[in-house]
C-alpha cells in the first residue's frame, strides 16, 4: 500500500511546502500541563522524532542541529533520532505506536490533523518553553501562522513549515495559444479566477492538453479546493466548526463556478483525468510554491499569486507542525529540544526546505537563498505578503470523518448535469451530525 500517484502527490502537497504533520499524544482529554523547565534526568535520555520525509539532505540537517544540541546539553540528552515513517502510512504507523504504548517524544503533524491533535490533549503546551528560552524571540513568530495550532492561550505545535499556494504557469503554452501573460494581469489588476479560466480553456483548446489543474485535488482531496473558494470567501463550515456552510451562497457560487469551468468551459481536467503540470501536461497549476523544485528546464514558467475571486484576492497557506507528545517519556526534554531546533539560527537553516513562520526570515532575499529556482521578486510577491494574512485549508477536530463524508457526498457533484445546490444540501445533511458532535 503505498504511493498511488494521486495520493502520493496529494500527500506530498500536504506535507510539502505547507507542511503538516502529525502528532501524537497520550494523556487523557483536556489540555495537558504545559511543558516545564526540564529537570536534569538521572542519566541523559534518548529522544525520538517521527517525520515523513525520507530526504537525505533534510535528515542530515536535522541530525546536525540535533548533534549540536546534544553537545551543548550532554547531561540532558544522549542523542536524538529521526524516524522516517513512509508518507502513506505515517498515520497508521504512528497511531499503532501510540496504541502500543510507544509514543515518540516529538512528531510531525499533518495540518488537517491539527485541531484533532490540539484538542485531544495529546500534545504538550509549548508556549511557556518557547517564550522562556533565551534568544528564542517568540514574538518574531507570525501570529496568523500559529492560530491553527492554538487552543486558548496554549500553543500545541510549532508550524515549522508554512508554505503558500500559488499558480504556476507554463508560459510557453500560453504564448503559443496567444494568451495574455498572467504576470501582466497581476500588474494591472486583471488576474481573476474568470481570467484564469478563460486563459486555461483557450490554452487547453490550443494544445490539446489540460488547462488549469488544482494539484492533488483529483476529485478526492476536496480540501484543496480551498485555494479556489477562498476567492469567494467561502468556507465549508463556520469558524467554530459547529455549522455547515456548504449551502451558503458564497460556496454555492464558488462550486458552481468550478463545476462549470470543468464541464462547460473545459478549463480544468474532468474527473478521472490525470495531468501533471510539471511534466508539461497542463497550462497552469495551483500548488504550493515549494513544488518549484519539481520543475526542470523543459519549458519556461512563471509563478504568480492566487487569482482574485468575486470577494477579492485571498492567500492560502499549507502548514505542518511539530508537536511534543505528553505520553512520550521525556516531554520536558523534548520541548526544550524543540525550542533549540526552531530557534532563529536553526529556523534560518530549516528555511532551505520549509518556509518558517518567523517574520524576520520572511523576506525575498533570505528565501531566495534557500530556493534557488525562484527569484527574490517572485518570493516577495508570493510568499512574504501572503503568509501574513493567509488562511489555511479547512481543519476540524473531526476532520478525518468530515473529509471522508464530504468526499463521498461531493462525488455526486462531479458529473456534467449535477444539481450543485442539491448536492451541497445533501452534503450539509450528511456532515451536520458530525459537526454537532
Amino acid at each position: 500500500m503505498s504511493a498511488h500517484p494521486t495520493r502520493a502527490r496529494r500527500t506530498a502537497a500536504a506535507v510539502g511546502a505547507l507542511g503538516t504533520a502529525l502528532a501524537l499524544t497520550s494523556c487523557a482529554g483536556g489540555s495537558s500541563a504545559p511543558a516545564g523547565e526540564p529537570e536534569t534526568p538521572d542519566e541523559p535520555v534518548e529522544l525520538r522524532m517521527t517525520v515523513w520525509t525520507a530526504d537525505e539532505a533534510q535528515l542530515e540537517l536535522f541530525q546536525t542541529i540535533a548533534d549540536a544540541y546534544v553537545a551543548e546539553n550532554p547531561e540532558l540528552v544522549a542523542g536524538v533520532s529521526f524516524e522516517t515513517i513512509p508518507f502513506e502510512d505515517y498515520t497508521t504507523a504512528l497511531t499503532t505506536q501510540l496504541a502500543g504504548g510507544n509514543a515518540p517524544d516529538l512528531a510531525w503533524v499533518f495540518e488537517s490533523n491539527a485541531p484533532e491533535f490540539v484538542a485531544s490533549g495529546a500534545l504538550v503546551d509549548l508556549r511557556p518553553v518557547l517564550e522562556g528560552t533565551d534568544g528564542y524571540a517568540a514574538d518574531d513568530l507570525v501570529p496568523s501562522a500559529l492560530s491553527l495550532w492554538e487552543d486558548g492561550d496554549g500553543l500545541y505545535a510549532y508550524p515549522f513549515s508554512t508554505s503558500p499556494f500559488a499558480v504556476f504557469v507554463n508560459t510557453d503554452q500560453l504564448a503559443a495559444a496567444g494568451q495574455p501573460n498572467p504576470a501582466d494581469l497581476v500588474a494591472d489588476g486583471g488576474w481573476t479566477f474568470d481570467a484564469a479560466r478563460d486563459i486555461a480553456a483557450a490554452t487547453a483548446q490550443d494544445t490539446g492538453k489540460q488547462g488549469l489543474v488544482v494539484r492533488d485535488f483529483d476529485y478526492q482531496a476536496w480540501e484543496n479546493l480551498a485555494t479556489v473558494w477562498s476567492g469567494w470567501q467561502a468556507q465549508p463550515w463556520s469558524a467554530d466548526g459547529t455549522e455547515c456552510t456548504f449551502t451558503d451562497p458564497a460556496m454555492v457560487d464558488a462550486l458552481t463556478w468550478f463545476h462549470d469551468a470543468v464541464f462547460t468551459d473545459g478549463a480544468l481536467p474532468e474527473p478521472g483525468t490525470t495531468a501533471d503540470f510539471f511534466a508539461g501536461d497542463a497550462a497552469m497549476t495551483i500548488t504550493q510554491i515549494s513544488r518549484a523544485s519539481s520543475l526542470d528546464d523543459s519549458f519556461s514558467w512563471d509563478v504568480v499569486p492566487l487569482p482574485a475571486g468575486p470577494a477579492g484576492q485571498q492567500d492560502v497557506v499549507g502548514q505542518a507542525g511539530i508537536g511534543v507528545f505528553a505520553a512520550g517519556e521525556h516531554p520536558d526534554v523534548a520541548a526544550d529540544f524543540l525550542a533549540y531546533f526552531t530557534n532563529p539560527e536553526n529556523a534560518a537553516q530549516l528555511a532551505a526546505y520549509f518556509p518558517p513562520p518567523r517574520a524576520s526570515l520572511l523576506n525575498g532575499e533570505d528565501l531566495a537563498a534557500a530556493n534557488p529556482r525562484l527569484s527574490a521578486e517572485q518570493l516577495e510577491a508570493v510568499v512574504v505578503e501572503s503568509v501574513q494574512d493567509a488562511v489555511t485549508k479547512p481543519a476540524h477536530a473531526s476532520f478525518a470523518k468530515l473529509s471522508e463524508t464530504v468526499r463521498a457526498e461531493l462525488d455526486a457533484l462531479w458529473v456534467e448535469d449535477a444539481d450543485v445546490e442539491a448536492v451541497l444540501a445533501d452534503t450539509c445533511a450528511a456532515i451536520t451530525p458530525l459537526l454537532e458532535d
Partner: protein
Amino acid sequence: MAASAAVRRDRLVGYTMVAPVVLGSLAFVVLPLVMVVWYSLHEWNVLANTFTFVGAENYQRMAADPGLADALRATLWFSVGLVVVNIALALLLAVLLNQRLPGTTTFRTFFFSPVVVSLVAWTIVWSFLLQADGGINGFLSVLGVEGPNWLRRPDAAMAAVIIVQVFKNVGLNMILFLAALQGVPEELQEAARLDGAGAWRRFRSVTLPLISPTVLLVSIITIVGSLEVFAQIDVLTGGGPGSSTTVLVYYLYQQAFRFNEFGYASALAVLLFVIVLVLTLLQWQSRKRWVFHEV
C-alpha cells in the same frame, strides 16, 4: 486404561511436534484475538488516550451504522465478483495451459508473474491505465468501443478494482488448478472420449468432479483473501465514488487509523472474523454435496 509405554512415548512425540505451532497460535493468534474482543468492549481513542469500558455499545452502534451497511453491501459484491471471476479465469487458464500448446511454459510464466510483482507497482500502473483517457480506453476506442470513466462510476469502479485484483493473483490459483488437472488420470478422459463425450462434457463430467477438492480449497482461500483486500482499493478508488467500493476491511481501517476509533474498529474486526469463520464453515459443510471425493 493406561496406555502402553510405547503409545505414551508416541503421544509425547506428537505433542512435541505440534507444540511450536500450537503455542505460536496461542500467543500470536488467539491472544491477540482475545485482546481485540476486549478492546471492542471499550471506547478507545488512541489520540486522546481514552480507554473506557462501554460494554456492548460498539456492537449496538454497528446495527445503526449506515456506513457499515454500505460497507457490507460493497463487500458482498466485491467478494462474489472476485471469487467468480478469479476461479473462472484461473480454471480457463489452467485448462488452456494443460493442452500442451506451443509456448505453454512462457505463457505460464506470464500469467504467474504478477504474483511476484509488488502490489504497489502493479496498482500504480493500473491506476494510470484506468484513467478516463488512459491506456484501456485508448485501446477500446481502437475497437470502436467507448470505455467508461472506470474509477469514477460506481459500477465500473467496482469492476475495475475486481479485475485489477484478479490479474494480480489469478496466477497462483491457476497453478493450483493446473497441478490438479495434471493429477486427473488420462485413462478417464480417454474413456469418456471413446464414449463420445465432447470436450465440454468431458470437462463437466470427468475433470471438474475430480478436481473439486482443489476448487473448494481455492475458493475458501480466495474468499478469505477477498475479505482482506485493502491496499488496492485505497490506491485505486479510495473507497469511492460515494462509498461504492468501501469494503469492510477498508471501513475498519478507516475507523481505526483515520478516525482513531479503535474500540469500534475492534468490534468491526470481530465481525469480520465471524463472517470469515461462518463462510468457511458453510463451505466446508457443503463440501460433501459437491466435492467428488474426500482428500
